[in-house]
Symmetry: C2
Subunit: 181 residues, 2 copies
Amino acid sequence: MPKLWDDSIATHRHAVRTATLDATAALVAERGLTGVTMSEVAKRAGVGRATLYKYFPDVESILTAWHERQVGDHLRQLTGIWTDTGRLEAVLEAYAFICHEHPSSEPAASLHRSEHVARAQEHLVDFLAGLMLDVRDDVPPKELAAYCVYALGAAGAVPSKAAVRRLVAVVLSGLRGEAGR
Amino acid sequence: MPKLWDDSIATHRHAVRTATLDATAALVAERGLTGVTMSEVAKRAGVGRATLYKYFPDVESILTAWHERQVGDHLRQLTGIWTDTGRLEAVLEAYAFICHEHPSSEPAASLHRSEHVARAQEHLVDFLAGLMLDVRDDVPPKELAAYCVYALGAAGAVPSKAAVRRLVAVVLSGLRGEAGR
């Protein structure tokens, strides 16, 4: 097959995938995770049902791909904040606001792809662990990172942005405090 | 119906329920949540399938009842520790070890009864909020309690009992620290 043809297939595949995940994001925002069907996604994405089924066998696989893209976007956002500011506080606050806007119970519970969600969370823990090297030396960086990810998950359960900022302050106290004090 | 008959029905109902949930606990421990079937539960509990279906329409309803009983047991355990010791540290450490032994992702993800799991978590947050009255006055007790429940959930993701104790120390630092310090 000539290279041009290869490129054109890859471009088409990418376009279908992007349209599908954008349509899924819109449907999830409007109706929640259970409101997503293959027909609705195809219609909203402007692709035929047969084409959609060529790329995604079922709704679960679309939701998983959508969640992966979302987690990837969030990780890039956090990495950007770290590169720009070098401030752990800024990264943690940004993550807290992500949790506040996307309460974790919803995707975790309804996707019930625990391995998939667990893997996404591991990437985040690994990223944060890299920022925890100079934080407190009585606890390994990876445990501190897990503490942050879980504790900041509470941002999905608090009622206001002020409460999110208070939560971040409490989590930071935990990072800075000394054990057994 | 005579009272004696009523009592005997209630006793029978209670016995079936207890046997069912005990059998479910054993099956979950052996095979995980997805390994529980109506036939296996009936066999293990020593009740007929028809009897089982009279009390529980499906596996989901059994798992929900089992989870509710388990959460109730844990809450009673934590309340007992508080009554006996009056030490918040002891309550939080006990809860951390509960999370370590029952990693939350598993039931939360597979039961996908988010309202049910959310309600169970609310009871726990309310209980802990009652113990947070003198902790730090810049954050409402309920937010501190949510912080503890989420942060201690990380105990399900850490590899050792020593790591659980380090996590509890970090969480306590968060409770004791002062914001903006």
